[in-house]
Amino acid sequence: MPEIQAQSLLEPQFLTRLEQLELVSRKIFQGRMKGERRSKKKGQSVEFADYRNYVVGDDLRFLDWNLFARLDRLFLRLFLEEEDLHCYILLDNSLSMDFGKPTKLHYAKQVAAALGFIGLVNLDRVVVEAFNDRLTQTMPPQRGRRSLWRLMDFLQKIEPAGPSDLRKSLRGFSLKCSGKGIVILLSDLMDKGGYEEALRYLIARQLDIYVIQILSQEEIEPEIAGDLQLLDIEDADVAEITVSGPLLKRYKQNLAAYRAALHEFCTRRGVSYLFTSNQVPFERLVLSYLRQKGLVR
């Protein structure tokens, strides 16, 4: 879809609205640089956390001299350290995402751009990983507003390619990723290998996981008729069907069941799940639905 690709992913007016938002993590994560977030890690900040006994080698600047005067014992003052947040955006760029109007991939890119921008302006460490049957492209961690163009440039260059293998891709991501933070998975999750094992890799990393499933309207409400030979765009699998009312009904039932199972799987494991169609304006998705889900505030 060249005309869609030519459009900028985010409108300037929308950017100003996104600036007021920030990514929310339900867990407090460790960062590498001092950021604007509290960390579990004790460090140098203004917010007191606790005391502990002095051991040899501690920084003498953090001794509580008042306590030493009263108790004649050495205690060290501990402060909560403020850190930056890791925000991993996993973008499915398999061929199945190149479907719909706009394509699911374009829609996912817009969502990724919006969330990435929110992360950048809040000095979070934003990482974008594109994957199909493996991790294909990675945007190094970016921080700060100035990195916006890099994010946009990276997203623009992602092209649909290859079949998808969610399990293999997420396994690779979990091995590669050492930090903790938020993981936002943008995919249609139509993987014949299933999603359970793949998601378990992320869950095992104790990341704050958000799964956003994007489907095209043609997949949700198919408008097809006649005797058809369905060709799978990814693996060239052929399914011969004769479209009928009962078949369409059965398809919709299966789709609903698939979504319900995915939702239940995620909920049971503390994973946030959000389903969206490519027909839902992504601005509304970000400003309304993701806010309701607690990803942004």
């Binding site: 199945s96 008729a225 006649g226 369905l230 069907i241 004769t242 009928s244």
Partner: protein
């Protein structure tokens, strides 16, 4: 070791489609065999076997190559279906859910599984039906083109009976329509409608719509039934008369051995379907020849089903002692098999107004009981019973009315109808009678005195009927006095000189001949013997013992004389084709010629006829018939469809007749002495308005015991054949149209199913 229980539904689901497919292919085998046999030229033998074994026949209605292509079509469809060439490829993001859905449906739903294949079955079935349609299967006979059939529909009065709903005629029309449907467009059909006469409503045509329309247009009449004319119409094509064409066109000097071969006209075998209740006289002197008559009996069979009581006679006579009193007599027939109680009401209508009503028996007396119809019980076994013809005799009763104080010259109509009778044929429950008005015939007698003649005309009874003027033969020259309006002119031993001098009236020539005949040219015979006479002629009614007439001298007519018109009635005949009394036609008049004198020129008796009873009766007949006198008691009643002869005064030029429905018709005088009115279709009283004269009436009544007897005749005789109903016959009924219709319905069904699948 446990075995898995068999699921019959699941087994059926698996084998249903292949079983149907195999069944359809098996169904194609007979058509293939028939097609191959046709291609091998064995159609005739195959048809012969099929007709004998199955009552079927076939022929290819399309070229052989088209039939072959059509035959291969189901195999092609099956091949295409299994090759699945028709599926349209469509790219989707993932077949994951689709495959799962299709599998779900296949596993869970028997009907869905079938529906995936039912279009194939329907398409093959459609082609199969088309194949059998083009094989043009026919049942009960061989396919044969150009057969002739005649639908002969009885629309007489009895066919209006409602013993079968809605009426007998409607049932006959329905059966005729079915007969038309049973024939093909290659057959030629004709529609003949008959009652007292017959009419071709549709001549031979292959257009069955025309035949159906002709049948639909048949209307009931009140006429009696005669089948002879209808058979004659049907006969003309089936049994052509031998002609003299061969002899006429054969050259006189034909060389021996080189004679032309003349093929005599051959009759065309024709089916005649007669739709009637059979209430018509047998036609013993008719030969059916090539006509194959099939009788479709209409009406409820059996004597018990007849529910009719009828007036069969209605007459009136003037009281001999009191001419102003009428004696009316009505006869009632009961055709039911049980007694009937009824009364007869007689309305006396004078000049259009109801003057008085009489009931017979009167109200204060018990009703008249008419005995039941006696049905003869056949003796012997069942077979014998079928052969017998149960005619039976209906129960009969008569009623008598005396109507006094009637005006001689008034227009009097008597209307009799049955009360308390609820039968299925109401048309015969009433009758009308018009009392005749007294009118005198104007008679002119030209001749020398003739005492026997003058005695008859001078007697008091004759004076009441005739106004007689006597003229001398000398008056014939110069003054032509008889040119005054007259009904009858009697020339006694004299005649006008020229034919132009003949009067515009009926004449009786006694011992004279009408010009241009000349008495001198006729042979003179002494003591001729009367050997024969025509008793049925109106002039000869009630005459008997004519062989006793002795004549001294006569001038008989030689009937072989070419000047004598053919079919001239020989009223009194002597030997050697010589007539002593004959009725010559002259325009619209009759010249009655008596070839011998009553008294000769000298006043001597020339015959002893005057001393016999038949002489005054003869003169009475002459006065009534040639003098245009009706019965003084009642106007002659006619049956529906019969011609009514109206004989007003000689100078009347036009008449206006108004029928019971109020429709008027003006009649102009033609060349006949009487006016003939033929539109006597309705029962009731017809008014006749004569210019310058008093109005007259006449009545049209059914009064026919054959029509009133509603029991369909079980059989009748035509020529030497006894025709019975219900004899089934073998005739081809084309089935291919029904097969083609089935194919069309299958196409519609396929269309519906296909659309249900496409438009969700």
């Amino acid at each position: 070791m446990a075995t898995r229980p068999l699921n019959p539904l699941g087994t059926l689901a698996r084998v249903w489609f292949p079983l149907c497919l195999i069944g359809l292919l098996l169904l194609a085998i007979p058509s293939a065999i028939l097609l191959v046999l046709n291609l091998l030229g064995r159609e005739t033998r195959t048809n012969a076997w099929l007709e004998q074994a199955l009552g079927l026949s076939y022929h290819l209605s399309i070229p052989w190559w088209a039939a072959l292509a059509l035959f291969l079509l189901p195999f092609l469809i099956a091949l295409l279906y299994f090759l699945k060439l028709k599926r349209r490829p469509l790219q989707v993001p993932s077949t994951f859910l689709w495959r799962k859905s299709v599998e779900d449906l296949h596993v869970n739903s028997l009907f869905q599984w079938l529906r995936n294949n039912i279009l194939l079955l329907l398409q093959i079935l459609i082609v199969l039906t088309l194949i059998y349609a083009v094989l043009s299967l026919q049942s009960h006979g061989r396919a044969r083109a150009g057969r002739h059939y005649i639908l002969m529909i009885d629309n007489s009065a009895s066919m209006s009976a409602v013993d079968v709903a809605p009426s007998r005629l409607e049932q006959a029309k329905q059966e005729a329509r079915e007969e038309i449907d049973a024939h093909t467009d290659d057959d030629f059909g004709m529609v003949i409608v008959f009652s007292s006469n017959a009419e071709i409503r549709q001549s031979y045509t292959g257009d069955r719509n025309l035949l159906r329309q002709a049948v639909a247009d048949v209307e009931p009449t009140h006429r009696t039934t005669r089948i002879g004319e209808a058979l004659a119409l049907a006969d003309s094509l089936a049994n052509p008369q031998r002609s003299t064409e061969d002899v006429a066109s054969r050259p006189a000097n034909e060389e021996s051995g080189k004679e032309r071969t003349y093929v005599p006209a051959e009759g065309i075998p024709t089916e005649v379907h007669l739709f009637s209740d059979g209430r018509f006289p047998d036609v013993p002197d008719f030969s059916l020849g090539h006509l194959h008559l099939q009788f479709h009996s209409i009406g409820q069979p059996g004597p018990d089903a007849v529910g009719n009581v009828a007036l069969v006679t209605f007459n009136a006579v003037r009281d001999a002692r009191s001419p102003n009193t009428l004696q009316a007599l009505a006869t009632i027939h009961n055709y039911r098999t049980r007694k009937v109680e009824l009364r007869v009401q007689l309305d006396v209508i004078v000049n259009g107004n109801l003057e008085k009503s009489y009931d017979q028996p009167p109200d204060d007396q018990p009703p008249l009981v008419v005995s039941e119809r006696l049905v003869p019980v056949a003796e012997g076994g069942q077979d014998e019973k079928e052969e017998s013809v149960p005619q039976g005799s209906p129960g009969e009763a008569s009623v008598h009315f005396q109507i006094p104080n009637l005006d001689d010259r008034a227009d009097i109509v008597l209307h009799a109808h049955l009360l308390g009778v609820h039968d299925s044929f109401p048309q015969d429950d009433e009758a009308w009678l018009v009392a005749g008005t007294l009118r005198k015939a104007r008679v002119v007698i030209v001749g020398k005195p003739n005492k026997p003649l003058s005695d008859f005309f001078n007697q008091e009874a004759t004076q009441k009927l005739a106004l007689v003027t006597y003229l001398d033969p000398g008056d014939l020259t110069g003054k032509q006095v008889y040119r005054e309006p007259a009904d009858l002119v009697i020339f006694d031993r004299c005649s006008p000189q020229k034919a132009d001098d003949l009067p515009l009236a009926n004449t009786l020539f006694i011992d004279a001949v009408p010009p241009p005949w000349k008495k001198e040219e006729l042979p003179k015979v002494e003591n001729p013997r009367i050997l024969a006479w025509q008793a049925k002629h109106p002039l000869m009614e009630h005459l008997s013992a004519l062989q006793d007439i002795r004549v001294a001298e006569a001038h008989p007519f030689n009937m072989k004389d070419p000047r004598v018109p053919p079919r001239t009635p020989r009223l009194l005949e002597t030997d050697k084709d010589h007539a002593l009394l004959l009725a010559l036609s002259r325009q619209s008049y009759v010249d009655l010629v008596l070839a011998f004198a009553i008294i000769d020129e000298d006043g001597n008796w020339n015959t002893n006829w005057t001393q016999q009873l038949s002489f005054p009766v003869f003169l009475h007949n002459v006065l009534f018939y040639l003098g245009n006198l009706g019965d003084a008691a009642s106007e002659e009643t006619v049956q529906p469809g019969q011609l009514k002869a109206l004989r007003p005064d000689i100078d009347v030029r036009t008449l206006e007749v108004t029928d019971p429905s109020g429709k008027r018709e003006i009649l102009q005088r033609g060349t006949r002495p009487e006016f003939l009115y033929g539109k006597t279709e309705h029962l009731g009283v017809y008014q006749v308005q004569i210019e310058g004269g008093p109005p007259r009436s006449f009545a049209v009544n059914l009064l026919d015991s054959d029509e009133s007897n509603l029991e369909p005749r079980p059989q009748f005789q035509i020529g030497g054949s006894v025709i019975k109903p219900g004899q089934e016959h073998s005739q081809p009924r084309e089935l291919w149209k029904w097969v083609a219709l089935g194919a069309l319905l299958l196409v519609l069904l396929e269309w519906v199913i296909y659309n249900r699948r496409i438009f969700i």
